[in-house]
Amino acid sequence: MNASTADAAFVEFDRVQKSYDGETLVVKDLNLTIAKGEFLTMLGPSGSGKTTCLMMLAGFETATHGEIKLAGRPINQVPPHKRGIGMVFQNYALFPHMSVGENLAFPLEVRGMGKSEREAKVARALDMVQMGAFANRRPAQLSGGQQQRIALARALVFDPELVLMDEPLGALDKQLREHMQFEIKALHDRLGITVVYVTHDQGEALTMSDRIAVFNDGRIQQLAPPAELYERPRNSFVAQFIGENNKLPGIIEEFDDKKALVRLATGELIDATPVNIRAKGQQTLVSIRPERVEFKPEMMPPGIHRIGADVLEVVYMGDIFRTRMRVAGSEDFVMKCRNTIGQRKLTPGERIEIAWHAEDARALDPM
């Protein structure tokens, strides 16, 4: 069930553009194919056009330019009710004047399904989300998490092949959110449906998705599986948006395909992997994950450039120590070390040397 095993594109955005006011493009040249059975997440800051893309796919907004295809068929002219796409809204949109059972029966009823068949399917869908006992309640009598499950069940009850979810867990508290993430993922694996999921919670995106499309400013900045996105961000926006990141601005001193030598503003040299580097002397921003920074000499790769750091603050966070230090003039360089037996404790004011594997530092375009 992921991109590599599926063959033909199930959903396809082909050079799609969208403008609401005729002056600014909210979605700029979107090209995206989603395989059958894939769990694709659209991730991005507020206003980056995620909902707009989802609404175009669902049929509530029309693309200003370009074509959207579903199972190979262009759907620009198909009205929403004929697209057969399940949808979970951020506010759940459960019909307040109908009971839970009636809410679930609604999509079956408008499809002209008989009563007994309908009841069987509703019961099955309710059991699927462990809400079998709540069929007669009104939505207002349910907790947020329960409403969320019903919304999910309603979007799935008519067996759509594609389900869209727009920040479905946004209103839940952290614990419930994590639980529901797990359940949604389990349902996806079990039913083999294709899911397009919108969120601006990167943790959610990383744990649930087969692939993540990072949106910014109406464009996909990077489309990749979670691990690749996290470990090999393609530009500085993605690097900063996903996870915590240390940024060191500098100038390319030397580079080839595999390695680049970057001179920082304060004069030190560091090693990095070139990503968007075209020429020597180019401005760059080196990004390094806090957990990939080493301060114990025995862990450093041989022959690597080291750089001096002043420890400013050590925060105990349970599973890790988060150490903030001054590196190359910047005071918010962070290093994370696991809290293991025998871990050497740093103290503020201490001067140490740090380094990293060249693969873990990525020399990106400056922002």
Binding site: A58, G59, H81, A93, F95, A155
Partner: protein, 413 residues
């Protein structure tokens, strides 16, 4: 656990709660006392007065004590004897002296028309009459022997009577006191009540049809635009009702704007101008316009908070736009429809100025007749009875509404 919950020191919880709230309640009561007094004086008392008047009129009984006493001693259908005529003459003479004979005549005239002058002319001659009084009165006027007149006098000899309600329902009493339908040419109130209800229902329906799309538009437009539109909706409230009605007269009359335009466009001939005023059409058009905001506002107030994602959800679940409207949007606006309809209906049932100005004869409503009895015929008791029946009708409708839809479902704004 017997006796319910208790507080930590063993007092029943309910009692403790009541005690804790008593002070706050007393304070709240003090705050509303002026309003309560105001409502009592300006609302409850006049309505009480009105209801009292509709069953009480002592125009005859207070001024004709002797004959009233005779009626008390005899029973319905007893022919008047000499003693009765003697009492009548004495009363008429005394009333003429006290200049209240007109009041007496008017009271009897309400029940039997053409009798007022009978009393006033008898009043002028009562001094000169000699026994036997029966002959003397019959000499004065044949009608003093009419059993129907005596029946009416018997019925008005008591200050309390349901006769005004009978009249308001197009009923009357015959000479034996039996309730019968009023003569055909005098049955007007029943027809007017029916017309009032029917026109009010029609106007309510028209308002609903016109207001629903407008309210929806107001609810879905961005706030800046919808505020502008809202001002247009409320604009009529800033002009006098009289001005609005008069401007409809300018529009609708035979030489008015609409007819002139139609003639100029050649759609109708100059001779066949449409009669849109001084008939029901005028009442319907003008009242629909005037009452429209009362429908738009409650509708708007329920539509505004309805999230567009409900209809979208319905559409994504496979409903056509019509089904989505019918099954998902419309039910959520029901409280607004109920409130608006109730408001417009109740307002139009009691509407007065507009039908008086543009309604002509066929566009008059019951309130115009009430006004007529208040101002022209001065039969306040009948006006009160008509108004009380109208009030009862509205209350019944309100009760029906509560049973069918539920009053807590109402959302007025």
């Amino acid at each position: 656990m017997r006796g319910g919950l208790t507080t930590a020191d063993g007092k029943p919880l309910k009692q403790a709660l009541a005690h804790a709230q008593a002070r706050a309640k007393r304070k709240a009561l003090l705050l509303v006392v002026p309003l309560l007094a105001f409502i009592l004086i300006t609302f409850v008392m006049p309505i009480g007065q009105l209801l009292f008047r509709s069953i009480h009129n002592d125009g005859f009984s207070a001024n004709m004590p002797q004959i009233s006493a005779w009626f008390d001693e005899t029973k319905a259908g007893d022919a008047p004897d000499e003693a009765a005529y003697a009492a009548l003459v004495a009363d008429i003479a005394a009333a003429a002296e006290a200049r209240t004979i007109g009041v007496v005549g008017t009271r009897v005239n309400y029940e039997l028309s053409g009798t007022r002058s009978l009393f006033t002319s008898a009043g002028r001659n009562a001094e000169d009459l000699q026994p036997p009084y029966r002959e003397a009165m019959l000499d004065l006027n044949e009608k003093w022997g009419d059993p129907q007149l005596w029946g009416v006098m018997r019925s008005v000899s008591s200050a309390y009577s349901a006769n005004f309600y009978l009249a308001a329902l197009d009923l009357a009493r015959d000479e034996n006191g039996e309730i019968v339908r009023a003569p055909e040419d005098r049955r007007i109130y029943g027809m007017l009540f029916m017309r009032t209800l029917w026109l009010s229902a029609l106007i309510t329906g028209l308002c609903l049809i016109l207001a629903y799309p407008v309210a929806h538009l107001l609810a879905v437009l961005p706030l800046a635009k919808s505020n502008l539109l809202m001002i247009l909706v409320l604009l009529p409230f800033w002009t006098s009702l009289l001005v609005r009605t008069t401007s409809w007269m300018v529009m609708l009359q035979e030489q008015g704007v609409i007819n002139n335009t139609l003639v100029a466009l050649g759609l109708i001939g100059n001779e066949s101008r449409i009669q849109m005023m001084y008939n029901q059409a005028g009442t319907i058009i003008a009242m629909t316009h005037i009452l429209l905001p009362f429908m738009i506002l409650p509708l708007y107030s329920v539509m505004r908070p309805i999230n567009p994602s409900y209809v979208r959800a319905a559409r994504s679940l496979g409903a056509t736009s019509w089904t989505a409207f019918r099954r998902v949007y419309l039910p959520q606006t029901l409280p607004g429809i109920g409130a608006g309809a109730l408001l417009v209906f109740i307002l139009s049932v009691g509407y007065y100025i507009t039908p008086a100005l543009v309604g002509g004869a066929s566009g008059q409503l019951i309130s115009n007749l009430i006004a007529y009895h208040m101002q022209d015929s001065l039969n306040w008791s009948l006006a009160a009875a008509l108004a009380a029946l109208l009030l009862a009708g509205v209350l019944i409708l309100y009760w029906l509404y509560d049973r069918l839809i539920g009053i807590d479902n109402l959302k007025l704004g």
